[in-house]
Symmetry: none
Subunit: 124 residues, 4 copies
């Protein structure tokens, strides 16, 4: 399980970690029922505060992606179980696409990039 954080990324660390774990789950690299690394270990590996990782896990739990059992760690609840509303999901997508348009990329090029990114999300 490879998770990396980028200090130059302006998103908070807990969000970077949560996003990376989401990607692992989406790709199937972390399957249903599989255990996530202990908070303490992941924190040490990444060189960040334990509380920061705890926040990431809590967020993933709130979205229904993992279950945290006191004393026995966190496990992936179920792929495709994110508690989100399609309408709410569209806004970040729209913003991302807007940036591409404003950067001057053609619709064709943008669709190509979307396909590339989708491809990486379905590898497994």
């Amino acid at each position: 399980m490879f998770i990396t954080i980028d200090p130059n990324d302006r998103r908070p660390i807990y969000e970077q970690v949560a996003d990376e774990i989401k990607a692992l789950i989406a790709r199937g690299e972390l399957g249903e029922g599989e255990a996530l690394p202990p908070v303490r270990q992941l924190a040490t590996d990444l060189g960040v505060n334990m509380n920061t990782i705890a926040v990431s896990y809590r967020q993933l739990q709130a979205e229904g992606l993992i279950t945290i059992k006191h004393g026995s760690g966190a496990v992936v609840a179920s792929r495709f179980a994110a508690r989100t509303d399609e309408k709410e999901l569209r806004r970040p997508l729209r913003n991302a696409l807007t940036s591409f348009v404003l950067a001057g990329l053609s619709t064709g090029r943008i669709m190509q990039i979307v396909k590339e990114e989708m491809g990486e999300l379905s590898q497994k």
Copy 2:
């Protein structure tokens, strides 16, 4: 010119406003050379402080999308002139797509949504 802000949105107001204006520019609803509403007026309309809107405008100027002339308002500089790097643009796209996958949507459905959103960005 319709701009709305959502108090439940976790993003800061100034960013919501900037994003909405970017979308208007991308869609061509705000064309090159066209004037943006005065800072104070938009602030009053949205019920927020003048400074908040000023921050939005300053950010849009820093990205090269508008030019602010001290005594005479802000105008759209040039569509497709955002100072951004394709690589930096991909991360938000990837995150947005990941959310759809985790919500259980099929690749086909996701591509359909992307096409819908792209369609709205090229209306004009």
Copy 3:
């Protein structure tokens, strides 16, 4: 006499105009005793407000570069007569050089650029 203003330049118009006139005087294209164009005409040519040009002229007069005679226009007072203090002049120079350093240009390249710019200032 060619003066141009750049709407994308974030400096106030009156300052752009004053700076351009200073450059003309420094280069000798506007010699001592020579008349500046009437405020009204320059304003029309540039498509700006008359008051804006008046401010430029007033600033040039304050610096001792021109004399404004009520009713008979403005004339170049004397080249090399700017009322300025060497120490005060260094700050903008230092800032300009700092920007080059931070942009990663080598000392050699920077000195070359300085020589190029100096060359253009002594054409006449």
Copy 4:
């Protein structure tokens, strides 16, 4: 770390502060990875409002010179990483040199001053 602001300087305080920090970075007195003083502390030291310094820091971040980590302060990102365009840099240089010419300084004297200033920018 010595930063001073000059109330007689026409530039806004936040810009003076940003320029001084840029100079410190260019000179190497603030090296890569080194921490900047906390916003509140610098504000108190200079006797200005916290927000004013926050604006300086935000500008430096936008130029890529520092990275701000939400709960843990601001650090120098990388010397020589300013996101700027050589052409845009020349105008301030040209204006600075013009002022020297108009003050009656000889080309030789001006080049000497440039060398002096460049020397101070490469001390470390």
